[in-house]
Symmetry: C2
Subunit: 289 residues, 2 copies
């Protein structure tokens, strides 16, 4: 294992219990992934509790915690240091009167490198995130960790080619997406699993970059989370995956040096036309005048 | 068939013969697609001849033709009018001393709605397009045809999430990609077929839009074109496809009104953050100051 390879772990489990139970369940799996050689372990979104965004209920704001003094974050930092793994942590952040869906990037020595606040906030039956979270104000962030440059994003961000491309432009070696996604309460016949994967597989191919997503499993008050966590390689194939109701971890190793050469050789970044992309910075396609 | 549905045809064949033979072979298949109900027919890239970009040879510049007086374009216009189909035509354009890889959008009454010049130009062993084509100067274009709003792009553009998103922002109902892609002379072990499809499947899902790609088949001087033309639905599944060495057509019908509702309901465009996308307009990830 040289500095030019990266072993990526993904963790998948149910998260319906108490804050401490959930964190400890996840951390036990992180330990298992580290034992399997993982240098970076991706865990599910908002792992401290049930996916409360299923409904709009003001009592859930009490779940939020600031970065400073965050007990679960401290647990993640301690284990990251003990195991020597990079360990992004997804949590409900309270920042004064603003609340965010935040990813804290914990380096392999336990240091907090910084936070990313989820940029794209969904809203719809079963996923009422706009009630809870302000759209993130950090912009897209790539963290220089001891295991490589990690592009950190969260769940709904994963549907956005803009986010993936931005992280690749900012130098990411790998994209990680903590996730909470499952059934659609208003549309039980709609299974979004394959769309969810295909969007991220597209990012992997178009940016010639490995993509890792960790999702939860289990039923929470009628909402069934479909797991299916994966690591996709630069060709979009699944290097590792977990089932729809499987608790566990997977670890795969990618060769970052080979991928950088492959990315340059494909020429996608060479042939981009930024002068034609102004329309992407509009909401409705009107070219700015 | 109402104005709110769209029947999309794709055409696939070998194109190794003379200019007239190739055009007539393609137009016979267009006729077959129209017989099958197609209102829009997508044909392969640079269909008038072999894929000359395999090598850098100045004699191939003689293949180029201006828009005005273009005999093959006139043939396409005549057949479009006869059959009442929208018929984009991909050709090597000579515009004074500038040469482009151009798509002419022919409406169902035979009118030329305008041209799009391929924005992203590849370059590498077997695909030496930078020797022949200036990067397009038209920007991304959506054409209001009698069958719907057609986002027209060409081959290498298909790997760019920027292009697909731009066309969706500009109001496209469908994305079409005339293509010429196959084996890699410098890397015979590399089969790019699945990556090629996965990138466009990603566009279909992320933009909730049907995507149609037509590729050629057959061997040309050792380079094997892999066909595999397809229409992907908004969930990224293949609504229709052709094999790696199959000559023929496919026609599928999509419900544009239902897709517009589906696109709104998913909320991807609602939740975009244009103010964070400035980095996309850079070549190297440096935020402009």
């Amino acid at each position: 294992m040289t500095a030019e390879t990266l072993s990526i772990g993904i963790v998948q489990c149910a998260l319906g219990g108490s804050r401490v139970e959930n964190a400890e369940r996840v951390l036990a799996l992180v330990r298992e992934a580290a034992k399997g050689g993982a240098q970076l372990v991706v865990t599910p979104e908002l792992l401290e509790g049930p996916y409360f965004c299923r409904e709009e209920k003001d009592s859930f704001f009490e779940w939020a915690r600031p970065v400073e003094g965050n007990v679960t974050l401290a647990r993640f930092q301690a284990l990251a240091k003990e195991l020597g793994v990079v360990l992004p942590f997804s949590f409900f952040e309270k920042a004064g009167n603003a609340y965010y869906n935040t990813l804290a990037m914990v380096d392999a020595d336990g240091a907090l490198l910084g936070t990313y606040r989820k940029s794209h906030i969904p809203d719809g039956p079963g996923y009422e995130e706009k009630f809870y979270f302000r759209p993130g104000d950090t912009g897209f962030r790539v963290f220089e960790t001891k295991a490589g440059k990690v592009g950190g994003a969260v769940c709904w961000d994963q549907w956005y080619p803009e986010c993936a491309r931005a992280l690749a432009l900012l130098g990411a070696d790998v994209l990680v997406y903590p996730t909470a996604i499952g059934s659609e309460p208003a549309n039980p016949a709609l299974d979004t699993r394959d769309r969810w994967r295909r969007a991220m597989v597209g990012h992997a191919v178009s940016n010639v970059i490995p993509v890792a997503a960790s999702n939860r499993i289990g039923e929470e008050d009628g909402q069934l989370f479909y797991g299916s966590s994966f690591v996709a390689g630069t060709d979009g194939s699944f290097l590792a995956e977990l089932g729809r109701d499987e608790t566990g971890v997977r670890v795969v190793t990618v060769d970052l040096a080979a991928i950088r050469r492959e990315r340059a050789s494909w020429g996608f970044f060479r042939d981009r036309r930024p002068e034609l992309y102004g329309v992407l910075t509009t909401a409705d396609g009107r070219q700015k005048v």
